[in-house]
C-alpha cells in the first residue's frame, strides 16, 4: 500500500512549556481505518486535531491527499498553508467531535446543508436532497426538522457524522465520539461508523472503545506521552501487545470494562503478564 492519503512525519506540538507531541510518524492509506488509543493526556486528540490544523504543530510535516499542510523549512521555521489552502484541505477532511458541536440554532437538516451550500456552493435543492439521504443513512430521516437539543446524544452525534459526510470528505477524523453519550447510545454511533468503514471510508478514530477498534480498525496506534509506542494490525496490538506500556494500558482498560461481545477477545493472562514490566 503505497497510496498514502495522510503522511505525518516528525510531528511535534507544544503548549507553552508543555510538549504534548514529541515526534509522531505515521501514514494512512486510502480506505484504511486506524484506531488511535492511549491514556488520557497522551496527546492522541491533539495529534488528530493537527491533521486538519485545528492545532498548529510546532514542528513536523503533514500531508493530506497530496497537499502539504505544514512543513519545516531548512532554517527550522514552520511553513503553513495559507488560509484558503487550509480551507481547501478541510473541505476534504471531515471531523466529528466528542461534544458534537452541532449548531444549536439550526435544525438537523440545516446543520447538514450549511457547509455544502456555503463552501461547495451547492444549490439548496441539491444540498437538501443529499442531506435527507445522509440523515436517512444514519437512521435519522424522521428527525430532519428537529433541533439538536431535542435529540439524544447518540442522535446528535449521528447528525454530526452526517454533517461531516455532506462535504464528501476523503478522510474522516473521529475524536472520542462516544465519550459524551450514555453508554447504551454509543452502539448506534459505532454502528454508523462501522458501516462507513465497510463502505471504504478512510478513518482516523481516537477512541476508548476497544471492541470497536478490534472489530473495525485495520491498524491500531498506541500513543503514550506524545509518542507512538506501538503500531500494528488491530488484532495483534490489542490481542498480543508487545510493548509493556501498551500491555499495562490495555489491562487497565479491560479491568474497568470487559472487552466487547463480538469481535476480538483479549487474552486476560497476556495483558496481566505485561503489567509487571510496565511498572519499571
Amino acid at each position: 500500500m503505497t497510496d498514502a492519503l495522510v503522511t505525518v512525519a516528525g510531528l511535534h506540538k507544544s503548549f507553552g512549556d508543555l510538549e504534548v507531541l514529541k515526534g509522531i510518524n505515521f501514514e494512512v492509506s486510502r480506505g484504511e481505518v486506524i484506531a488511535i488509543i492511549g491514556p488520557s493526556g497522551s496527546g492522541k486528540t491533539t495529534m488528530l486535531r493537527c491533521v486538519n490544523l485545528l492545532e498548529r504543530p510546532t514542528a513536523g510535516r503533514i500531508e493530506v491527499d497530496g497537499r502539504v499542510l505544514c512543513e519545516e523549512l531548512p532554517d527550522g521555521s514552520m511553513r503553513f498553508s495559507n488560509k484558503a489552502e487550509i480551507r481547501g484541505i478541510r473541505e476534504h477532511v471531515g471531523m466529528v467531535f466528542q461534544r458534537f458541536n452541532l449548531f444549536p440554532h439550526m435544525t438537523a437538516l440545516e446543520n447538514v446543508i450549511e457547509a455544502p451550500m456555503a463552501v461547495k456552493r451547492l444549490s439548496k435543492t441539491d444540498a437538501r436532497a443529499r442531506a435527507h439521504e445522509l440523515l436517512e443513512s444514519v437512521g435519522l430521516g424522521h428527525k430532519a426538522d428537529s433541533y439538536p437539543l431535542q435529540l439524544s446524544g447518540g442522535q446528535q452525534q449521528r447528525v454530526a457524522i452526517a454533517r461531516a459526510l455532506a462535504m464528501d470528505p476523503a478522510l474522516m477524523l473521529f475524536d472520542e465520539v462516544t465519550s459524551a453519550v450514555d453508554p447504551e447510545l454509543a452502539g448506534e454511533i459505532l454502528l454508523v461508523m462501522k458501516r462507513l468503514a465497510q463502505e471504504g471510508m478512510t478513518m482516523l478514530v481516537v477512541t476508548h472503545e476497544m471492541g470497536f477498534a478490534a472489530e473495525v480498525a485495520d491498524r491500531v496506534l498506541f500513543i503514550d506521552h506524545g509518542l507512538v509506542v506501538e503500531e500494528g494490525p488491530a488484532r495483534q496490538v490489542l490481542a498480543e501487545p508487545r510493548n509493556p506500556r501498551t500491555q499495562a494500558f490495555l489491562r487497565a482498560v479491560l479491568e474497568r470494562a470487559p472487552m466487547a461481545e463480538e469481535g476480538e477477545e483479549i487474552p486476560q493472562g497476556q495483558a496481566e503478564q505485561g503489567s509487571d514490566d510496565a511498572a519499571s
Binding site: 486538519n52 477532511v93 467531535f97 458541536n101 449548531f103 440554532h105 450549511e114 457547509a115 437539543l149 431535542q150
Partner: protein
C-alpha cells in the same frame, strides 16, 4: 391641576416625541453597527485593529455624553464640519452608544462555545461566514438583555439633546413651562411618555428572547 395646558400643547408634545424617537432610532442603528465593527476589531488578530477598538471604547465610554454632544455641536463647526443640531446630536449619541454596544456584542460573541467556531473551521467555512451564520446568531441570544439595557439608556439620554437645541420632546415640553408657567402637568406627561417608550423596549426584549430561545 390644569390638564388643559397639556391637551392644548398636545401637538407640540407629539412633534417632540417623534423627534425623540428618530434621534433614538438613528443613534441606535448607527451606534449598533459601529459597535459591531468595533467589537469585531477588538476580537481581530490584527493588533492595530485591536488597539484602535480599545482606544475607541476607552474614549467614548470615558467622556460624559453631554461633553460629546457639546463637541459635536460647538467644536466640529470650528473644524469646518457643520452639522444641524439634530445630526450633531445623532453623532454624539451614536459614538457614545457604540462604545457600550461594542462591549455587549463582544461579550455575546465570546460567550458562544468555542466548539462552534471549531466545527465551522473543520467544515471549511470562512471566518466571515461562520461569524455571520453560526456565531453571531447564537451570540444574539446572550446579547439581548444588555442590548436592551443600552437601548433604554440611550432613549432616555436623547433628552440631553435639549442642550444642543434639538427640538425633541424634553425641549418642547420646557417651552410649555415658559409659555404657561405650568410645571407639574407637562412634566408628568413627559415622564409617562418616556415610560411608555421604554416599556415598548422591554416588551421587545421579551419577544426577542422568545424568538431566539433555543428549541428544546
Amino acid at each position: 391641576m390644569d390638564w388643559n395646558v397639556v391637551v392644548e400643547s398636545f401637538p407640540l408634545i407629539w412633534k417632540g416625541a417623534s423627534i425623540t424617537l428618530s434621534l433614538f432610532a438613528w443613534s441606535l442603528a448607527i451606534g449598533t453597527l459601529l459597535g459591531l465593527a468595533v467589537a469585531l476589531m477588538k476580537l481581530s488578530p490584527a493588533k492595530p485593529l485591536t488597539w484602535f477598538a480599545t482606544g475607541f471604547s476607552w474614549l467614548f465610554r470615558g467622556i460624559p455624553l453631554l461633553i460629546l454632544l457639546f463637541y459635536a455641536f460647538f467644536a466640529l463647526p470650528e473644524a469646518g464640519v457643520l452639522l444641524s443640531p439634530f445630526w450633531a446630536a445623532v453623532l454624539g449619541l451614536s459614538l457614545w452608544t457604540a462604545a457600550y454596544q461594542a462591549e455587549v456584542i463582544r461579550s455575546g460573541i465570546i460567550a458562544v462555545d468555542h466548539g462552534q467556531a471549531e466545527a465551522s473551521d473543520a467544515l471549511g467555512m470562512t471566518r466571515g461566514h461562520s461569524m455571520r451564520r453560526i456565531i453571531i446568531p447564537q451570540g444574539i441570544r446572550i446579547m439581548i438583555p444588555p442590548f436592551t439595557s443600552n437601548a433604554t439608556t440611550l432613549l432616555k439620554q436623547t433628552s440631553l439633546a435639549t442642550l444642543v437645541t434639538v427640538p425633541e420632546m424634553t425641549l418642547l415640553t420646557q417651552r410649555i413651562f415658559s409659555n404657561n408657567f405650568k410645571f407639574i402637568e407637562p412634566i408628568f406627561v413627559l415622564a409617562v411618555i418616556y415610560l411608555a417608550m421604554t416599556t415598548v423596549l422591554v416588551i421587545g426584549q421579551q419577544i426577542a428572547e422568545r424568538t431566539f430561545r433555543l428549541k428544546t
